[in-house]
């Protein structure tokens, strides 16, 4: 019965985020928050492993202001228990600080686990680093970019998408695996599950609860500026009858393909 830890990051909803018209800085203050996309794929995979093999599913989340409502979404999907740590010093956390906090939570609160599941990359940072870093901290193997996973016999078999095709690999547990959107479709919790989640344990932690101080989580990579990329487009919109639009489209294609055929 494998116990699985799922790392779920809360990030700004980058799909709604707008840059400031003049400074081009992201207007984070006005943005909504959500659970990072691939982390819900990771959670879904953990739930499927539990359905097949038993065991527990823990959710771990760290940030400068972790929102309990979003953690409840994970519990409603089916996670058994959540450990979340909020500290203002994590606002500028880089991969090194994040891996430090997450591993400290796991060491302090979940001493027995078989598998850690992460997203391959977070929605906001897109760093591809937290999973491998955790594996290095715990000195266990990791497999990234996993699109299909089988657990059994004290190990895993994983299908991973790399540039030149799919690689099939195996390793012993405990291990860390990172996944993308290909691996599954996260379930939508029913009202019943949402209600049941209210009674599940959501443990809110401080840095000192896991033996850390804000000095331990100073970023080693310091973000000094963030600016929107801009591309100017003509933004001409065409609506109308299909025949007319099709003709228009053909003309535009020809004039833009020009002499290059």
């Amino acid at each position: 019965m494998p116990d699985v830890v799922v790392c779920v990051k809360q990030t700004v909803d980058v799909y709604q985020l707008k840059p400031h018209p003049e400074t081009l800085a992201p207007q984070i203050g006005q943005a909504q928050w959500k659970n990072s996309d691939f982390d819900l794929n990771a959670l879904e995979e953990a739930l499927r492993i539990r359905e097949k093999h038993g065991g527990k599913v823990y959710v771990v989340s760290a940030g400068h202001d972790v929102k309990p409502l979003l953690v409840r979404e994970c519990l409603a999907m089916g996670a058994d228990e959540a450990f979340v740590l909020s500290d203002p010093s994590l606002e500028k956390a880089d991969g090194s600080a994040t891996a430090k906090v997450l591993s400290s939570i796991i060491k302090a609160k979940i001493p027995r686990w078989d598998l850690i599941l992460c997203g391959e990359a977070s929605l906001d940072q897109n760093s591809y680093q937290t999973g491998p870093r955790l594996a290095e901290i715990f000195n266990v193997p990791h497999v990234s970019y996993v699109t299909k996973l089988e657990v059994g016999g004290g190990g895993i078999k994983a299908w991973r998408a790399v540039e030149d095709g799919v690689e099939v690999v195996s390793c012993n547990l405990p291990a860390v695996v990172t996944v993308g959107l290909e691996i599954n479709t996260p379930r939508l919790p029913s009202l019943l599950m949402i209600r049941a989640a209210q009674r599940k344990p959501l443990n809110e932690l401080k840095l000192s609860d896991v033996g850390l101080t804000s000095n331990d989580v100073m970023p080693k990579a310091e973000t000094v500026e963030i600016k929107a990329l801009k591309t100017e487009r003509k933004k001409q919109k065409f609506e109308g009858k299909p025949e007319e639009l099709a003709e228009r489209l053909a003309e535009l294609i020809i004039s833009n393909v020009g002499g290059r055929r």
């Binding site: 980058v14 799909y15 840059p19 998408a161 095709g165 099939v168 080693k220 487009r233 299909p242 228009r248």
Partner: protein, 314 residues
Amino acid sequence: MKALVFGEKPEQTASLAAYLSKSIQPETTYAAAFTEYSPTELETVGGAGVKKIYVLPDKNWHAGPASTAHALSELAKQNGVDIVVVYASKKGNEIAARTAQRLDASYASEVISVERSGDAFLVKRLVLGGGYVASLLLRHRPSVVSIKPASENIVPGDKPVVERLNIVSDAPEVKFLESIKPEKAHVDLEKAGVVVAVGRGFKKKEDLAMAEELARIIGAEVGCSRPISGDLKWLEEERHIGLSGKRVRPSLYIALGISGQVQHLVGMRDSKTVIAVNTDPNAPMAIESDYFFVADLYKILPITIESLKKKLVS
């Protein structure tokens, strides 16, 4: 300043060294390899600026990223390097992250540039879905970055010193079982002059034939959004465009049934002209294209194709 570069393939290692020679200009560039380089490959990396190449046993590579990261961090320590630069292939990113953790280093993945800034390195990378560029300072030594520099012509030069080294690693192993290669031939989307890109607006795999026909008659390559290659597996992985896929820069980009989420836009932002077909007038693509057709692709594409055939013959 000393740098250590590593790419899965010799040409990747060479491109890293060549990039550093222009950007941060290290006094010494070391390279790591887990296979023997041919004489021509040695001349290429030498020409790119590598002074010394360490050839390690291939078991450090085949045992998986932990073992490779162990080897790289040992080389970094032995040579007192200031920066470890890994080619940002998918495997490269995994190895770089583990190497950074092992070295307790500053690390930035998939950077688009590296510069010196006083005692630190200033790097840029795409964040927040790819719609934004972040500048970061890496102050710790060593620092680690992964980067995919544009390939350039490298004039062969003197071969670097080759040292064979055995690094024994007890790092946790990942066993390689098999590799499933895609059937189709390699496509060079990055160099395509015209790209027809397909998204989830297509309902069935067979319907992609429309896009393929359009591409054929106008001499375009076919690309796609990530769900088409990843979730649905209708097209090869190497056709996926965006943050986690290819970055294309054609003179014309035709987006069919693609919503235009930020992670897709990163991959086609540098296109000269963008035409989109989408049933939803409010899809994000509407403000990211030059000509946006509010239309059902199933209704207009067949007519467009017929019309193009006629026009292009005459």
